[in-house]
Amino acid sequence: MEKGHNTTFKRYGMVIDLDKCTGCGACMVACMQENNVPFKKDETDKIRSITWIRVYKLNNGKPYPDTEICYLPRPCQHCSGMGDHGHSPCVSVCPATATDYGMDTGIVSQIYTRCFGCRYCMVACPYHVRHFNWWDPVWPEGMENYLSPNVSVRMRGVVEKCSFCYHRYQLARERAFVQGRKDIEEHEYQTACTQACPAKAITFGDLINPAHAVYELKNSPNAFQLLERLQTYPKVYYLSDRLWVRMAGDNYLEEEKREMAQAKIKR
């Protein structure tokens, strides 16, 4: 397998600028529409809602007027696992090999027709990105006509999650092949949430390709990953110049928090 620029070896990932995110939820809507994500008549019970990307509202815990808010969109983190061998928390535990790590793309996929609904992957995932179909999907009358033909709908009893709009990658690859090209360009494969974000807070691309915007962005001193201390090696990076936001990305001991705050003052 080749490595580097314009090769077949990719590591697709995302960089989300939390200082730009307004929490509008357009990414969530676009994702649901793009991926035929089912919904219920009553969605008040959020813990059974299927949201491939979910926007969390964080605050700095300080009273007014020092209160600060941050919106954090959380798609599947597509963890690489230690050594990039695909030993992500969910892939390694699935007893039926129904979730797979693409060694060519770094994308964690879910094989719906093989999943038998044991939910061990949901238990293993610390990000809660995996959702179980507690019900069969029921679409409002006429809405079936608007479902995407490129994404299979899921039945009751299986787990689903964000696929980084993998069908778009497949379509882009097919288009390139027909046109006699060996590879695809950055703009040819973009996720629905990336394109829907009005604030351009989400940047998507190949993390190991210097020609892609995410390559530089992820190296920012303000970049961090969620729960990186767990050694899940996520491929979603977040940016924020606010220390409290960066610290919200992981668990830290009290002395570690103090050290980070002091380091910021010195900087």
Binding site: P89, A96, T97, R114, F116, Y120, L227, T232, G249, Y252
Partner: protein, 444 residues
Amino acid sequence: MDSDLIPKGVQRCSLGKFLLWISACGFVLAIGVYAMILCWLKGLNQTNMNDAYGFALWIWADLAIIALGGGAFFTGFLRYIIGIKELKNIINYAVLIGFICYSSALLILAIDIGQPLRGWFIFWHANVHSMLTEVAFCLTVYFAVLTIEYIPLVLENRKIDKIPFFHNLSHNMHEIMAVFAATGAFLSFFHQGSLGGVAGVLFGRPFGFREGILIWPWTFFLFTWSAAAVGPCFTILITKITEKVTRKKLVKDNVIELLAKISGWMLLTYIIAKLIDTYYWAFHTAPGMGLTLAQFYTSDPGSVYGYWILFLEVVIGGIVPALILVTKFGRTNKIALWIAITLACIGICTNRWVMVLQLLAMPVMTFQSWFTYFPSWQEIATTILPVAYGAILISISYRYLPIFPQERELNPIPGEEAEVETVEKEEKKELATGDLSPATETAT
């Protein structure tokens, strides 16, 4: 009416009374079966599980009954591999309890999966890296072993035993039972361990994650150890309950005390290992992930898991019963023995509870709070189902099969002894099976 089926030389209640008891258990069983059918037909929306609680009451029940059913493999190991002869007087019951526990666990697993018709995918598309795959394989094969161990007992029913083929089959199965006991022990060491590994390998879940040796986290060994320690306690507990219900002494004290002694020392060594594991996890593993013990056991909003549950698991359900069981006074004093075996069972159930429910209750991302869950009636009914099923199978087995080899000796019926011996001699003659002796030591 059914006196021909009842073993000779023992007394049983009237058939009417027996059927009344079976009907009562059957009623509870029927509710469980109804809930089970609801889950199968309508799906897991019948439960109160959610995307935070992918595992819940059922998986806890699975882990707990498999641990409690560990008496079968460990007693079998002691009887057949180590060769402790006294245990032949309780091994039948240990096997029966194990059979009930494992069949119940498999049934619950079948309800617990979202696509029950795809259950076989775990074998067909097996991911060898998954602890659950190891659990499924070992559990299924060990259940087959338990069935093989239970069959000779069924064949020793008075009526069935009169048929030469079944009599000989029972005898021959008994002859090779050590092989199955060894296989069972081997399989059990692995699946009890892999059940521990289910939580231990979750490196995304700091509450459950443990370091270990090669691919096996420490919980792998702790689960096997604890099941071997407490499984016999559960066997003793059920034996004691059966004695209370039947108002008879069924197993001699020396047998119970011996098993209790072994169990006690196993429990004591387990709890020492558990304390070391807890210390290392709390002060080395967790801080490496930015967490402290106080964050695991907290009174934060939504959490019901304070330090009390650690105390219940380790001290009340571990150290106390272990100390009682390793002392002669604790084993010979009836009340102390009752307390010890009950606490040990509570302790192991608590351990399995925290490794499933507390693990999922605790938020890992800093901006989330503790998750709450209370099971639906369907979950509760299907969890009680195995209890009713177990009571029925024990009742039927006790009534019609010679489960307790010492029962006749401990509960002689005046005037019937000579008659029983005559009948038995006649039955042996009828069989006319050459040199084959009847399977007097009940096969397991």
